[in-house]
Amino acid sequence: MSLRSPLGRALGAGSAKEGVHHWWSQRLSAVALVPLSIWFVVSMLSLPSHDYAMVTAWMEQGWTPVFLILFVLTAAWHSHLGVRVVVEDYVHNSGTKSLALALVAFLHVVIAVAGVFAILKVAFGGAA
């Protein structure tokens, strides 16, 4: 027995294949964040000091800016997916919910853009 409706069978469109998108993005970003977040925390704690010269020298060298950008973007994406679900679960008024979801989205875009901008600026030596 098929569970498809007669209309669905006639249209033959099938599912939009979007059902698992949120779930899959969250897992994918989670997998990427395991090494990236460990790298970030260990790097932070390995720096001998956190004064300006030390931090900017670290941010300029080799692969650091690349991994930092990957970390900020992946963390912002993973955070957006997570906070979004929290808002969807706990904010019940539909108007407030839409507003909160929009704010959460905007805030995460700002975090991602500001983070990448700052890293590139230091890496290209514009901050001196």
Binding site: V41, L45, H50, A75, A76, S79, V86, I111, A118
Partner: protein, 136 residues
């Protein structure tokens, strides 16, 4: 909405169950880490703003309140990392039996505490070494 009858939901669950505790803790630590992203971007933007701006931000970031926040973030990171790996293992279809999931709940709780203790010790080493001059 308000007039419609509700089926019993939260009140029928035993809220102290390990499954409820591990789940809500994963959520809370995730939200804490999201807030931590704001601190991260504040720090990065300060570095991009030049030596003077960075010096000012470092003053804020080495304050006592921020040190408490860093320790909270390290605790959240320790738990969320391990709980996340536990979820990824579940997604592969393994460890879903009740006995296995009870064992892994204890495992991530204890390993999370140990990881946090190690990271906190490392961080405090920084703070004592840096004295007045440095911070994370």
């Amino acid at each position: 909405m308000a007039d419609r009858p509700l089926s019993p939901h939260l009140s029928v669950y035993r809220m102290y169950r390990y499954s409820v505790l591990t789940s809500i803790t994963n959520r809370l630590t995730g939200v804490a880490l999201s807030a931590g992203l704001i601190v991260l971007v504040y720090w990065l933007m300060a570095a991009a703003g030049g030596a003077k701006a960075y010096g000012r931000a470092l003053g804020v970031l080495s304050s006592g309140a921020l040190k408490v926040i860093f320790l909270i973030l390290l605790a959240a990171f320790s738990y969320h990392l391990l709980a996340g790996i536990r979820h990824l293992i579940w997604d592969s279809g393994r460890g879903l039996e009740r006995s296995q999931s009870q064992r892994s709940a204890w495992l991530i709780g204890i390993a999370g505490l140990l990881l946090f203790a190690g990271l906190a010790w490392w961080t405090c080493l920084h703070w004592t070494m840096a004295g007045a001059g440095g911070a994370r």
